[in-house]
Symmetry: D2
Subunit: 389 residues, 4 copies
Amino acid sequence: MEQISRALDTFQIEIPSWGFANTGTRFGKFQQAAAASTIEEKFADAAQVHALTGVTPTLALHVQWDLPQGVKDAGAIKALEAKYGIRAGSINPNLFQDQEYKFGSIANPDPAIRERATSHMIESAAIAAAVGSRDISLWIADGSNYPGTQSISRRIGWMEESLSALHAALVPGQRMLVEYKPFEPAFYHTDVADWGMALELARSAGPQARVLVDTGHHYQAQNIEQIVAWLLHLNALGGFHFNDRRFADDDLTLGSIDPYQLFRIFHEIHEQGAGGSADIAFMIDQSHNIKGKLEAMVQSVVTAQELYAKAALIDRPRLRELQDSSRTVEAEECFRDAFWQDVRPTLRDWRRTRGLPEDPLAALRESGYVERITAERRERNAKSISTYA
Amino acid sequence: MEQISRALDTFQIEIPSWGFANTGTRFGKFQQAAAASTIEEKFADAAQVHALTGVTPTLALHVQWDLPQGVKDAGAIKALEAKYGIRAGSINPNLFQDQEYKFGSIANPDPAIRERATSHMIESAAIAAAVGSRDISLWIADGSNYPGTQSISRRIGWMEESLSALHAALVPGQRMLVEYKPFEPAFYHTDVADWGMALELARSAGPQARVLVDTGHHYQAQNIEQIVAWLLHLNALGGFHFNDRRFADDDLTLGSIDPYQLFRIFHEIHEQGAGGSADIAFMIDQSHNIKGKLEAMVQSVVTAQELYAKAALIDRPRLRELQDSSRTVEAEECFRDAFWQDVRPTLRDWRRTRGLPEDPLAALRESGYVERITAERRERNAKSISTYA
Amino acid sequence: MEQISRALDTFQIEIPSWGFANTGTRFGKFQQAAAASTIEEKFADAAQVHALTGVTPTLALHVQWDLPQGVKDAGAIKALEAKYGIRAGSINPNLFQDQEYKFGSIANPDPAIRERATSHMIESAAIAAAVGSRDISLWIADGSNYPGTQSISRRIGWMEESLSALHAALVPGQRMLVEYKPFEPAFYHTDVADWGMALELARSAGPQARVLVDTGHHYQAQNIEQIVAWLLHLNALGGFHFNDRRFADDDLTLGSIDPYQLFRIFHEIHEQGAGGSADIAFMIDQSHNIKGKLEAMVQSVVTAQELYAKAALIDRPRLRELQDSSRTVEAEECFRDAFWQDVRPTLRDWRRTRGLPEDPLAALRESGYVERITAERRERNAKSISTYA
Amino acid sequence: MEQISRALDTFQIEIPSWGFANTGTRFGKFQQAAAASTIEEKFADAAQVHALTGVTPTLALHVQWDLPQGVKDAGAIKALEAKYGIRAGSINPNLFQDQEYKFGSIANPDPAIRERATSHMIESAAIAAAVGSRDISLWIADGSNYPGTQSISRRIGWMEESLSALHAALVPGQRMLVEYKPFEPAFYHTDVADWGMALELARSAGPQARVLVDTGHHYQAQNIEQIVAWLLHLNALGGFHFNDRRFADDDLTLGSIDPYQLFRIFHEIHEQGAGGSADIAFMIDQSHNIKGKLEAMVQSVVTAQELYAKAALIDRPRLRELQDSSRTVEAEECFRDAFWQDVRPTLRDWRRTRGLPEDPLAALRESGYVERITAERRERNAKSISTYA
């Protein structure tokens, strides 16, 4: 109980502004009347999640959607921070949506487009400085769909140049986080496809660059907790985008498909003494086409806490002893004894003593919040255009 | 040469109307100024592909996009057929785009929605009858994203009811083709996930139902040619949606990632004497976000011909003898000797003697067709709204 | 508690004789001094597992390893049954080990080899009849390593002939279970690669044939519980070979990699009312190269019970209601509420009231059984030269 | 033709001694009467392959199987080199077969076992020095089968220590090549699972360490040519173990499953000017359970030459121009034009002008070599009891 409390006291997780907006698959979006459209609505929804859970004080922002005028919008963000008691979190440039990025952004063979993409990243760093955010999260969606159509090797050099330029523009204390992803939207090659590539690019950029692990961005059966262990070992882990997957980058609620995996990831964090460290940014990156946005976000936060708490329960000195003597079955039983414990009653206690609702999902339902925003936003959302993408 | 000619003389492949329209990924569409928006533009583009290749006389139609008024639009289709010399091909209902289909169409727990989806399929059969198409292609995109949230088993029963109702509405000679897909847009379970499920549903529907194989809809490493062999063996193969993939359902140009695989699929067709049989509908189903629509379609048709011709070259009596005596290396060399032969000169000859351009891709470039439609459609397309889906 | 007790009272699981023998990977076996070599040792070990868990009354037998003289050995088996209080379970022919099976057994192009393989299966049925076993488990390991080297389509026909011959030899009440596997030992095509192929072969054989689901024999991300739901729907599920996997057919302890998956499989069993039904044979098929044989087997049985009990705890009427109204988050929470409950105290109670040790793994350690057999078998095992592989 | 000749003149590929010995899967070996058992037989077989192809002057050696007495056997190797005109190639320590390695070799929690493994690697370097080989190839098969049973993070540190010790023992000019593999024989975590981990270990060891790419050791759909491009970019590519795969590490004949992939890998080599460079060791690592050993080896060499020649045919200046302007279809057609050309006639010419048989596979059959060694080795092989596995 003590153990769980100590762990939970240092556990915070960032939620993304785009998690409250309508999203979907390439086959369409199922519109939600309660979806947020404006940056203020996103702050409001985030504040509601924080009120219910107490552990989501920051909101990740997406430059193109949330700060369309760039640094000029920083003042508006500061005002929203004050109004809703939620701080701006990581700043996310957009390197995939513009028509110019058809053949890539910072890996595009056209130097003018690379320059434009680099400028956008540098402006994102300026935004981060203006709103007081530490991290710039970089998802480089570049790649190609057909063998031979782009030069894999020259594109490496172009990315290095561009990321070094961004690093040069960072202010002290800022960090740039390089995310990797095996595929989608590109299907033959993705320029930053795995943690090795992200790490090399981070290193060539400079000491303020780190790797960002999105749990949904891995090959089938790849061992994510091992990658986490390596990045911690190399002091190169910047943070996580949490979500779950079964097939591709499904962006499902974290822990919904393979909860044991997230438990193991948290174990590596605890194991290397990185639990509670602000150096590892815990962030949620999900896309809820089916679940209600608020419901899914609260559910995600609660699930993350439960699995984090379970991982904190592992009897680590005993486990280490069993591992050192290769007592396989005993070590496994020691390890998963923590997974099988029902930590939910303890979490309810922890919440109650902190003045939080014991069951945040139930509290959300009782709050009437979703009904209220549905009423407020329904008409406006109904007018918005749904196209088949 | 004779062998190739005979094979090519019976080879035709259907192209899809949606292959000429703008499509993309969930992260956006790269707009093409030459993209078709109207059904007439799609017929015009299809006619151009047929003029250049000589083997694409039919155009697959999508009910929702191409016949928004259902059977009432059949007359317009007949007029376009006459004007462009292209016949309507398979008719494709849409069971995934409407907001009501959020939790499924014919597998939805809500009987009213199942009823609506069934009616749409039955109307699609009526459309097919009206325009003289044989095949109704059914892609049932139903599924769920999270364990336990839908009843896998009851949904089987609901699908059986609905598909039987459709079968009862077929006129003699019509066929319903049941497509399968492991995932996307649903990520935890897809109601028709593999060929076994599609086959069971086709059988329970009735004798005019067949299975449709989309080459992109398989698990990693799954042996598609073996599934084709089984479906032929069971007399249950209705046709193909051709495209290629590396990761998910990438909808890439056929033969672009693994050309040897398509060669092997064609081998099974030839092997079981189904080459040139009208019973196996060869159709293209691709989505070109990066390549030019016309270019990609012509390239696909040419590649399909080349691989079909290579497969026709296999010395089948010799191969059978080597297989019967399990002479592995010799059988393999016999098999891929056909793959390694450069059939392109022979194809050029075949085209010339049929009054077709020897190099359809070059002929497309020389025709100025793409420039012409770009000029005609650019302004209208620029106005169309591109939203992030 | 009641619910769990009722579920556990009908839960039994068969253990395999080969689970007590030395096995390994193609890179070698790590020899265990306590490994069983003789059929008597296997019966003795099985009896120990049953003494500790109370739910493993039968032992699957492998014809080649356990009854090398075929039916002649049936008397010896009956004597061991009596001596150890363990009954013979499913009978497993061997269709992969002999040198003649290099190019296949019942799918071999050589009719003499097919004949030999068929005879071996028929003899296995005779053995089953002689020892009073209901099920003959068929793992057809046939396939090929290189495209074009074997005729996929003709091999289908050969398998149908052979399996029909076996079916004709079954006595009333016997069942033949057809197992499927995507790959290994063959790497290009496996003749019975998925549940669809196994089902077709079972049907063409006759009404006493069923499909056997080995949980490790699936493609990455394939939804096994859905296949189970389909097979139950079609009344074609014969049973399971339980184990867990991450990459290939890893033959790991059940529930060790993805415990949530096995919970979902058990849910489908309960959901379709098949829980406790003797018609679904629950069997373990694992290969422990690292874990102690006895320890791993006891651990597997306990884990299976725990996950079966968790699945029994699902509030099914409530879940059905939530599914019917597509209340996604609530349904998911209802579903996994059962998964998160710690059923271990209840299992201990259940065991105590049945006169079983509360913690079978601890009881195994305390029993000194492993030390005893290690002492007895060490010398003999050290001398043995592995002929397996 | 010129282009192909120049490329072929610098192309050599190393063959492995274990490629001539009986191997199999965990389910057994299909014994070949012609299999080599002694190191002399392996040299003799390698000489035969070299006589037929002219491009396999070196033979990779496996310390445990080929030099059981370690450095003491170096003299015998030198004598065989002289007798057969084949030089010793890379030296391969064995870190997986001994019973002590059950829980790992250089990542074992037991320091005594790590020490033993390190000594074996250092002795392998001494062997390499004694026989004049440049490369020590390291396959570290360590890993674990169950979550929590070994400490992923501490094992990283142990490997670093051990590999640094090996590096310190290298003589100038020697290289240590670190191989990676996602799984097998371990199934939950493999300590050197991907190129990123291999690269980090190589770097921490020192400047004479490089990464070894085994083409069969990748996740499904992973882009191997991209990894090659990165390693070349980082000057960290030591060489290849060529083979092909469909599912796991199938060890099939190179180019047999996906020939287009190997073409693309060779393209990256040519593209970065590394073609013909002795710095990239081309090696074959295959396991032929079904194909005849000699036949398979000759077939592999011929296939490698054909795909290398095709890749050399790419019009690189033109391709670069098309890539730079993102003309996707044209670039793709330029790229695969080389793949579709039938280079076999040119290879026959090249061989004839070098005094080699035009068709090495046919020449092998005509030579009677396999019949001769079959006669010589049959009896001995029939008696041998496999201790492998």
